[in-house]
């Protein structure tokens, strides 16, 4: 930096300012307009919280929020358990085929739309009734892959000889896990769970395909999508602001717990 000329330095700061303006303007406008008094979705006419109040009285949104919470909590619980066990199993073995790697990596890169139609075809072939339970089954697929990758990153620096030492000292496998392995990986497990929870709360397409017809299993993103298709309203702005705040809080927390692992 010290080597650079003032002109270069000014250019670099300008680049940074422009990029951050690009990243934050759309979000800032959205959040600002959620506090807009007027009914026009894009013209500012004074501060008000009335759109947040009107959300609280909207039965469709509340039921969608409840559905989302159920799906996210249950799928996160299952995925955290399975993903953590998977991570320990994979890292314990330390020699694994690329087939196994691909299988664990696949849910993270497969396009949502492809997994969505695959699960819809699968469930309808089996004559499964679609509903919240099928969304949960589907969400666990990608959630467990993300939990596994976060926990594995933590296990990379894990010294397995302490597990052997614990066993040599007569501890059972369960005791060793509870007293040795778990305390080491716990921050990563919680970070993975928070990540899974957020992904599940935000996921739209797979839920859309596996929810089945009818309003009973509409999730929040499905509700938001339906509202957006209908037009822009200040109410969506308010709802979007709340959902965004929840996601960002959960993921910031996750990142704190697990410094740097997710970012890599």
């Amino acid at each position: 930096m010290s080597e650079r000329s003032p002109a270069t330095r000014r250019t670099l700061w300008l680049v940074l300012s422009l990029v951050f303006a690009f990243l934050y303007t759309p979000i800032a406008v959205l959040v600002a307009l959620s506090f807009n008094q007027g009914g026009l979705p894009t013209v500012w006419s004074g501060f008000s919280l009335k759109w947040y109040a009107s959300l609280a009285g909207n039965a469709a949104i509340l039921s969608a929020a409840l559905n989302t919470l159920i799906v996210a909590l249950v799928s996160t619980a299952i995925a955290t358990l399975l993903g953590t066990l998977l991570a320990i199993g994979v890292e314990m073995r330390r020699q694994y085929g690329s087939g196994l790697e691909a299988l664990i990596f696949a849910p993270m890169i497969i396009p949502d739309i492809v997994l969505a139609i695959a699960l819809l075809s699968f469930f309808s072939l089996l004559d499964f009734t679609l509903g919240l339970h099928t969304i949960i089954l589907a969400h666990v697929v990608f959630n467990l892959a993300f939990v596994c990758s976060v926990v594995r990153a933590r296990l990379k620096s894990f010294d397995w000889s302490i597990v052997e030492a614990s066993a040599d000292l007569g501890a059972s496998a369960v005791t060793t896990f509870r007293r040795v392995t778990l305390p080491v990986i716990l921050p990563a497990v919680v970070a993975g769970a928070l990540l899974a929870f957020t992904l599940s709360v935000d996921e739209f397409i797979i839920a859309f395909f596996t929810a089945g017809a009818g309003r009973a299993s509409t999730t929040l993103p499905m509700q938001i999508y339906a509202m957006i298709r209908f037009g822009i309203t200040p109410e969506i702005n308010a709802l979007a602001t709340i959902v965004m705040a929840v996601s960002i809080t959960a993921l910031t927390l996750s990142q704190r717990l697990n410094r740097g692992v997710i970012g890599q």
């Binding site: 759309p26 993903g83 199993g89 589907a138």
Partner: protein, 292 residues
């Protein structure tokens, strides 16, 4: 002992692998199989083998949509890489203690709901949105420009959504760059531009490639952005697959489209992996040479 570890590790992995097999591998295999069946007269599936669906994928109409998707995804990738690289370069050049802060705020928007980030662009680009108002404020009096529901809006949405990843991917090699290399290049008389082109850029290509592949793969299979910002007028493969399953009710053709999409993605990912292998081989060689 070793076999005991293998047994224990297998038991630990079993539930998750069973879940992935039952709810990802089998369903995807089913879609692959579906692609080779015929569509029934009333929209059902007729279980006779056919290659017609893949033939239809190469029909000019649908092949055009594939090309269109690739072009939109490619443009978004190019723009995201240019902006993302510049941003990563500027972050890597900032005072060291500020770098994590900048990086954090560059990634933060990425952590909010994808649907909402896309919706934010509708608010920005619609006929009475911020940009129109800005133009009016600057004295513009004509018709509001139509920016929403254009290809440009779709590209902007894709760039916006995936930019943070490019910044992260490019920052990693840029921050590890040895400043003495650039100095040496300058001392030897190279201009700033030549130093960048011949020294910095080649050393940071892996980051660029990783970011570019990520943006391209996620963009070409995208459904939400073209549906919301393209207004259904700029169909991409994702939307076409969606239509076959939920409106046209031609599941076998939808399955063939989805499998073609996967094939394209695998091709891109494999190409990147091979290129990365070759590049790391070259770097190792260069390092070996330097040691001598």
């Amino acid at each position: 002992m070793v076999s005991q570890i293998r047994l224990r590790s297998s038991l630990l992995m079993a539930p998750a692998l069973a879940w992935l097999t039952a709810l990802m591998v089998v369903p995807c295999a089913l879609v692959l199989a579906l692609a080779f069946f015929r569509r029934g007269i009333y929209g059902g599936i007729e279980y006779t083998f056919t290659l017609e669906n893949f033939g239809l994928v190469f029909d000019p109409l649908y092949a055009g949509i594939f090309l269109n998707s690739a072009r939109i995804a490619g443009t978004a990738t190019l723009i995201a890489v240019v902006i993302g690289y510049a941003a990563a370069y500027a972050i890597a050049a900032a005072p060291r203690r500020l770098q994590p802060v900048f990086l954090f705020f560059a990634v933060l928007p990425f952590w909010s709901n994808y649907l909402i980030r896309t919706y934010a662009w509708i608010v920005l680009l619609n006929r009475e949105g911020l940009i129109t108002q800005l133009l009016r404020w600057l004295g513009y009096t004509g018709e509001p420009p139509s920016m929403l529901y254009t290809e440009g809006a779709v590209i902007a949405g894709l760039v916006y959504n995936y930019l943070p990843f490019v910044i992260l991917a490019c920052y990693a090699p840029l921050s590890r760059l040895n400043p003495e290399l650039a100095e040496a290049s300058r001392d030897l008389g190279a201009s700033a531009m030549t130093t960048f082109r011949r020294v910095i850029l080649p050393l940071t290509v892996p980051g660029i490639a990783a970011g570019a592949v990520f943006v391209f793969v996620l963009s070409i299979g995208n459904f939400v952005t073209p549906a919301l910002l393209g207004g259904g007028r700029f169909q991409m493969i994702g939307n076409l697959v969606y239509d076959q399953f939920l409106t046209a009710n031609d599941w076998p053709f939808g399955a063939a489209l989805a499998m073609t999409l996967i094939a394209i993605m695998l091709l891109v990912l494999t190409a990147q992996a091979l290129a990365a292998d070759r590049a790391s081989g070259r770097t190792a060689e260069a390092k070996g040479g330097a040691d001598v």
